[in-house]
């Protein structure tokens, strides 16, 4: 009998297509994790340098100051994108967490744009590609080392986001909130935006079998929905009206929110 078992399992082999697909996936992951996150395309450098030289001559700014990232803004509509911003509210770097985000960024030229213009361009891109669904959720996080300026930056960011979402007929659920540097780092280790990282962590609190890889391609509103359903299901009668204890305090709101992380 064990001979039959042995013979049966001996016939089970990994398909060549499965191995090839796995290797392609692993190469992509190794490459992604080895890349420098932010870069300035060489062809833009001449224009940027001229701008920096001008600002240095006017005594207004130094080269180092311009290229210093003072804030990171992550937008999750399900394209998931991060903007690095300097103290002059100029975008000095962009990063896409997923393929949808890459496609959006490919069509845009955001480097050196004012933050408000960059956000408007992004939401225009989201709308053009059909990501601005009425029943969707827009999650935007801000992480800055400039603690004293955070409240003002958050208010300004929320205003930019609301204006752009309204202009492009986006969803009514918009959230903008600050996150800590630690949380952003933890999210980046998993190649996730902070908002998606938080949504996955919250789902894992009620479903420990949810993995980052299985969750990563789902929208934040989907992940929160699953978390709420799972909580309601586990608590029997609680939540019969659809309410539950899952999600991030059950809040979605316009404007600035409480610090996370």
């Amino acid at each position: 009998m064990t001979d039959k078992l042995w013979a049966a399992f001996d016939g089970v082999r990994a398909e060549d297509a499965l191995k090839e697909k796995t290797m392609a996936y692993l190469r992509g992951e190794i490459d992604k994790r080895s890349k420098v996150r932010f870069y300035l395309p060489a062809k833009r450098f001449a224009a940027v340098f001229a701008a920096i030289l001008f600002m240095a001559v006017t005594g207004f700014i130094s080269h180092n100051l311009y290229f210093t990232e003072t804030a990171y803004i992550d937008l999750d509509v399900n394209p998931s994108i991060e903007l690095a911003v300097n103290r002059f509210d100029r975008v000095i770097g962009t990063y896409a967490y997923n393929d949808d985000g890459s496609k959006i960024l490919e069509g845009l030229n955001l480097e050196n744009k004012k933050l408000g213009d960059a956000i408007d361009s992004l939401f225009g891109g989201f709308a053009q590609r059909g990501y601005m669904r009425n029943n969707g959720l827009v999650s935007v996080t801000l992480q800055t080392s400039e603690n004293s300026a955070e409240a003002g930056m958050l208010e300004g960011l929320a205003a930019y986001v609301e204006t752009s979402v309204n202009a492009h007929h986006g969803p009514s659920q918009v959230e903008v909130y600050p996150v800590s540097g630690e949380l952003r780092e933890s999210a980046h280790e998993l190649d996730l935006s902070p908002a998606k990282y938080l949504a996955i962590m919250e789902l894992q609190e009620v479903d420990s079998t949810a993995t980052v890889e299985s969750c990563r391609d789902h929208s934040i509103s989907e992940l929160r929905g699953y978390a709420q359903e799972h909580s309601a299901g586990h608590h029997g009668g609680i939540g019969e009206d659809g309410s539950g204890s899952g999600g991030r305090n059950g809040q979605t709101h316009h404007g600035a929110g409480a610090m996370h992380g």
């Binding site: 009998m1 064990t2 039959k4 078992l5 042995w6 013979a7 049966a8 399992f9 016939g11 089970v12 082999r13 990994a14 398909e15 499965l18 191995k19 697909k21 796995t22 290797m23 996936y25 692993l26 190469r27 992951e29 190794i30 994790r33 080895s34 789902l203 479903d207 079998t209 949810a210 993995t211 890889e213 299985s214 969750c215 789902h218 699953y226 359903e229 799972h230 299901g233």
Partner: protein, 163 residues
Amino acid sequence: MRSDAEAGRAVEQYADTVRRVCFMHLNNKSDVEDVFQEVFLKYVLHDEQFESDVHEKAWLIRIAINACRDVTRSFFRRKVTSLEDLPESLYEPNTIQDENTAVVDALLGLPPNYKNVLYLFYYEGYSAVEIAKILHKSENTIYSWLARGKTKMKNLLGGESFD
């Protein structure tokens, strides 16, 4: 983080082993692909050196078993299984000979813990002590699962002794 070359070597060397673990627990191609990628990604990201090939293989088996368990128990997975992931035949064409299907069917019908220990004991050739280390269980638990697994197999196979 391990290199492309190390990843390629591991996939070539252990793909069949990981595939067999998936074969025991999963019944659709997309889950197999997901678990496969997850297992070898964890291998790539695992920085510690393995003491030997034996140690390396045992580590991969444990990761694969855990990954399959996560898939089959996940509320999230149950909610999002695509309609396109229709249950497919457990067997690739010509993989399992007809005379062996009864045994394989019986094994695949066992609870996961019994399946794992019977597979590791009878196919991979691990001792109960080694299986205990792989699965992070006590030796007594492994002996118990082996005994109960064999009894269940015997019952499923119409009284025919399993070993």
